[in-house]
Structures are given as structure tokens and as C-alpha cells.
Amino acid sequence: MKSVRHGGIDCDVHPALPGMAALLPYLDPYWQEQVTVRGIDGLDLSSFPTQMDAHGRADWREAGHKPGSSLELLRRDALDGFGSQLAICNPLYGVLAIYNEHFAAAVARAMNDWITAEWLDREPRLRASITVAAQNAEHAVDEIERRAGDQRFVQVLLLSQDDVPLGNRRYWPIYAAAARHGLTIGVHAGSTYRHAITSNGWPSYYLEDYAAHAQGFQSNLLSLVHEGVFAKFPSLKVVFIESGFTWLPTFMWRANKTWRGVRAEVPWVDRPPSDIIRDHVRFTLQPTDAPPTGADMERVLNQIGSDDMLLFSTDYPHWQFDGDNVWPAGFSDTLKQRVLVDNPRNAYPRLKEALS
């Protein structure tokens, strides 16, 4: 076990912004004043309540600190804890949900400065996603251009439940910029809560919200395929982060069948959705949403039909598993090795160049 674990690339860790005060040094004077005078703070996403056990594993917490806000703990529990050679930081602060797009762009820029100075510069094993204000693609592209020279930024981060599904053309300038710079598009679970999080309205319980991320991701997958994103940007890779993946086989069966019946509507989709998904879309390991037995998991993996699609992740500091039990039953050592290193390298062009 130890040998197969060592040297992995953890594709989902969550450094947490302690609060707006931490961003003040990185905001321009106008926004420094706005934030201070108006007392703007607390933009953590309702999708990921930081106080929940599920979003801060008990043994990874430190009293008085937001889970994920300490580099020392992240080093100890995520990097050293799993022997990872690299980890990709996906900060979840609520930039994408801000209504004022100028403010959103300012916070995105500050977030990227903050993660550079306080995380990447202090820990060589860390890589990061670029936080963007996708509310306005021009703002987002400006920010991507600003960061593209720093090879430690390996992807652009979006949320799975935004205003419109992610295949929509309003996002295409972002995809064009990502493709131009060899950046991957990361889609993390999360809603801006700008509309009901199910097409039947608002559920009562957080458990339902969290479960519903799977359906939200599936809607996005349909959108990315059928709007023709991968026909337009053939080099683009999209990583679904914290989406679960055991729903993927049955989703692909339905997507293929519907496409066969209705494909005249989307003539640019010239092969079955499952082929496109296997070529372009990747999924992080945690949460696994595993079936009851390892044998069942082997069947699901077999139905997924590709060893290339899963990327190692701990989802630190979220609580998806206990101890170091990051591997669900049913993964062979060969597959683990692919998930740990080969698949992340192939999903992130910038990691491929960085590592031997």
C-alpha cells in the first residue's frame, strides 16, 4: 500500500480564506475602502458551510481556525499525510456568486495574489486553480491572462451550479483562454444559489443539496457535450471535482441513447457522448459514492470503460473518508498508480511539463 500511495498528485485540496481581512493587502485602495467602510465579509458559499463536520474532518481541525486555513496543517495532514508530491489548491470563496461583477473581479484578483503569496510561494508542492469572476467572461479572461505566466496555476475554477449550464457560449472566451495557455477547466461542486438547486424547487435539507450536486454535474456534462465545447476546443480537458463518479456509466448510456434519437438538433456532436466524455472529462476520486462491495465497484469501473478518467484527490479538509482510507474497495494497484500520477499528469498539461 505504502509504495503505491507515495508520490501521488492530489487534485483537490481546499485552502480556506480566513476572511476578507486576509485579502485587504491585495485589493486596490478603492476596494480596500469599500470592504472596510461597508463591512463586507463572510462570502463563504452557502453550498459549503464551513462549520459542518462534513466540510472539516474532526482530526484535521484546529480550534479557532476555519478548516483548511492553516498551511501547516495542510502540509501535515494532506501533503505529508498522503505522501503527495503535489496538490492542487481549489479555494471555494464565493467569488462566482457576487452580483457586482466589478467587485467579483477585484476579489478574484486578490484571491489569486493571496494564494500565490501565502500558499504557492511558501510550499513548493502546491499548485493552484485560478479564481475567476465568470459573471463576465471579459473579466475572467483578463485574470487568466494575468496569471498564465505563472506555471503553478494549472486550471481555471468554475462552479457546477451557476446561472446557466457550463456549455453555454458565455463561457467560451474562458475556454479559449484556457486552451491557449494549456490550462484545464476545473468544475467544483457548488451553487451560486441564484435559482433553485433542483428543477423542482428548493429542498429542505442540506443532505439533499449535497446529493443534488450529482444531478447538477450531469446537466453540465450534457451542456458541455451538446453545446459543442469540445468540438470547438479539441485540446480542452475538464475536471469534475467533488462530483462523485459512480453515476457516470448509467448517465452515459442515457446520453448516448438520447443523442442517437435527437442528434439532428446538434449536428456538431458527431460521435456518441460517451466517446467525447472519455476523451475530455475527468473526475476526482473523492467523494467516491461507492457501491456496497469491492466487486460492485469493479463492475462500475468496468462500465466506465476507461482507466484514464479518475484523478487522485483527498478533498482535504472535507470529511469523505476516515483515517488514510482514501481508496475505496475494488481498485487494483495498477489502477491506483494511474489515478495517483499518470491520469493527473495527462489531465493537467502544466503538470506534464513540470514533472519528469
Binding site: 446557466v164 449550464p165 453555454n168 442540506y206 444531478q215 448509467t250 446520453a255 438538433e265
Partner: protein, 372 residues
């Protein structure tokens, strides 16, 4: 959703007799109004005038088109337009010939895609539901005993819905209660519980056929662009609906309630259960009203119609999914006369044992609906 318009294309219907000796129960048959005037005999004059002046108002952008135009007029097979001129499903004799006789169907469970539930004027919506049920009874179930109707109820007004259930409960022509699935709130929420209480009391399953409009975006990620997406998304929405019924505690409060998910597929059920169980284990403190794992409610209170039956790359994988689902959960449906109808002779691409066929094509539905 009202299939009373569209170009009429009549093709030669093959007259083959069924090759199957098995008597089938078809859990999704669509009859249709020739026009909304069919309901006038059952509506107060006030509503005739109202409809003439104001029409129906639902939370949709277009007066007479789906926001996502379908692949075919009236969503239907081109050969299903009756020779006498009405829309597909509107002519009993033609439906008997093309479906019931042709495929040796013992019972066909009717689902009308017109409901008063998503009408914004609630009084009109209630009147429409009552009229629809009168019309179903007089023109369909009384004319062919193979056809069984669903009590169409104005589910957003639970008091009126219960009244309508009470009006028909005990009538053997009505085998279930129909609620549109695109409800204003998730169907597990308390405002709908009086309906479930009445359903359980009268031993009537809730039939949840993908239908209706509620003004919410059709995906949890906003409005999509294409029908190829929307068609799949209505199935995703039924997943959220099942999650709602389970997590909000409907089956804990009404343990004998049966719910049938219709035209949303079934292959997704195992993965939804795995996910729910896993996260329930960490968050169960939030839902102390659940005394069992979420997956157990799926196994005891939910059933699924088969159409559109999925076609895995390896056909045997479908058998695997049904093993995970439970052979007692799946009920065959054609979805006649819609374009994506399943033919019972070709629907499953793997071999079932006779006992399995018996369950899926008839036995499970017989048990759920209490059919003789």
C-alpha cells in the same frame, strides 16, 4: 405539453400480430384530448368563457409551443396519427389496434399529459382536473376495461387534490393518483403531504410521470439550450424528486405509500442510493426523522417504469443494474404513441428468465396497482 397541434403524417402501421404469448401490463399509455373542447361538457359555463377570453396560463414562454421543440409533432410516432384526424392517442379504436391488441396488453395505465396542476389560476386548475377525470372515465375506462386511469389532481392545492381523490377512490377504473413532477416545491415538502395521506388511506399509488411546468430552470445549473439536453434533464429532475420524497421523510410518515416514477428510466437508481447512503452516514444528524438508510426507502416504497429502457454498451450491464435495483421494482411501459416508444418485443437486449419476464412485464405492476 398539449399535443393537440402539429402536422399530420400518417404512415402505414404494420399489422403484425404480437409474437409474445405473455399478457403485458403497459405502465405508460398516452391518451389525448382531441382538443380542449372535449372537456367543456364537464366544465361550468363560467370556464368556457374564461378559457375563450384568457386561455390557459402556465409558467412557460410560449402560448402553443414547448420551450424545447420536440423531435416530432405532438412528440409522437409519425404513424400514430389516427386516420380520423385527431392527434395521436385521441382515438380509442386506433389506440386499441396499434397498441392494446397488437401487443397483447392486458392492462394499459393511462397518463394524460394535460393537467390542471400547473395552471396558474388555481380555480381553473382545479376545475380542469375534475373535468379531465370525468372525461377519462366516460370516454376511456368505461369503454375499454383494459384501460386504467390516474386521478389527475391539482397538487399545488392539497385541499382540492384530496377532495378529488375522495371523489374517485374505490372506483376500480382509477388505479393511481397523478401529480405532475415539475411541481413548484420538491414533492417531499409538507404542503403535499395531505395528498400522500389520502393516497395511503385509499391504497392508491402516486404516479409520477415526467410532466408539467413550474417556472424553475429545467436543470439545477440553469436553463439549457437544446431538447437533447432537456429530454435527459427531466429524468435528472425525477432523481431529485425521489431524493426529496425519501429525505423529507414522506415514507417514514406514510410507510404504506407507493410511488411510481414514470418515464424517467431506472438505471440511475443504484448510484443515487449509493450516494445518498454515503452522505447520509455523515449528515444523518440533520434528518433524524429517517430511521433507515435512504436506499432502504427506495427498496420498499418506489417503483420505476422501464421506458425509455437504457442500452448499455455491454447489454449484460443492464441485467447487473436490475440486480442492484431489485427485480421487483421495474415495470414495463411502452410510452405509446410517443416517438421514443419501447416495443416489448425488442426492448431488452439481454435474455431474461421466464420468471423475470413475468415480473417486469406484468407481475410487479399487478402487485403495485392491485390489479386482478
Amino acid at each position: 405539453m398539449t399535443p393537440d397541434d402539429g402536422r399530420i403524417l400518417v404512415a402505414e402501421a404494420p399489422a403484425n400480430a404480437s409474437r409474445s404469448k405473455l399478457k403485458l401490463i403497459d405502465c405508460d399509455v398516452h391518451h389525448a384530448l382531441r382538443s380542449s373542447k372535449d372537456l367543456y361538457p364537464y366544465l361550468a359555463t363560467r370556464w368556457h368563457d374564461h378559457i375563450a377570453q384568457f386561455g390557459r396560463r402556465r409558467p412557460v414562454p410560449f402560448l402553443a409551443s414547448s420551450p424545447y421543440p420536440k423531435t416530432a409533432p405532438a412528440l409522437s410516432r409519425t404513424d400514430s396519427w389516427p386516420p380520423n384526424g385527431g392527434p395521436p392517442g385521441s382515438d380509442l379504436a386506433f389506440l386499441q389496434e396499434q397498441l392494446l391488441d397488437r401487443y397483447n396488453i392486458e392492462y394499459g395505465m393511462l397518463h394524460l399529459l394535460t393537467s390542471g396542476m400547473d395552471e396558474r389560476n388555481q380555480d381553473l386548475g382545479n376545475a380542469l382536473c375534475c373535468a379531465i377525470n370525468d372525461w377519462q372515465y366516460e370516454h376511456w375506462t368505461q369503454k375499454d376495461k383494459r384501460l386504467k386511469a390516474a386521478i389527475v389532481v391539482p397538487g399545488e392545492d392539497a385541499v382540492a387534490a384530496v377532495k378529488e381523490i375522495e371523489r374517485w377512490a374505490g372506483n376500480p377504473d382509477f388505479c393511481q393518483i397523478s401529480i405532475v413532477t415539475h411541481s413548484i416545491e420538491p414533492l417531499g415538502r409538507r404542503r403535499y403531504w395531505p395528498i400522500y395521506e389520502a393516497a395511503e388511506a385509499h391504497n392508491l399509488p402516486i404516479g409520477l410521470h415526467s410532466s408539467g411546468t413550474n417556472g424553475h430552470a429545467v436543470t439545477s445549473a440553469g436553463w439549457c439550450s437544446y431538447y437533447v439536453e432537456e429530454q435527459h434533464n427531466v429524468a435528472l429532475s425525477q432523481q431529485n424528486l425521489a431524493i426529496s420524497l425519501v429525505c423529507e421523510g414522506v415514507f417514514e410518515r406514510f410507510p404504506a405509500l407507493k410511488a411510481v416514477i414514470i418515464e424517467a428510466g431506472f438505471v440511475w437508481v443504484p448510484a443515487v442510493c449509493w450516494r445518498l447512503d454515503q452522505h447520509w452516514a455523515r449528515m444523518r444528524g440533520e434528518v433524524p426523522h429517517l430511521t433507515r438508510k435512504p436506499s432502504e426507502y427506495f427498496r420498499s416504497n418506489l417503483w420505476y417504469s422501464s421506458q425509455p429502457a437504457d442500452e448499455p454498451e455491454n447489454p449484460q450491464d443492464l441485467r447487473q443494474v436490475i440486480e442492484w435495483l431489485g427485480w421487483d421494482r421495474l415495470m414495463f411501459a411502452t410510452d405509446y404513441p410517443h416517438w421514443d416508444m419501447d416495443n416489448p418485443e425488442h426492448v431488452f437486449k439481454f435474455r431474461m428468465t421466464e420468471a423475470e419476464q413475468q415480473q417486469v412485464f406484468a407481475g410487479n405492476a399487478r402487485a403495485v396497482y392491485g390489479l386482478a
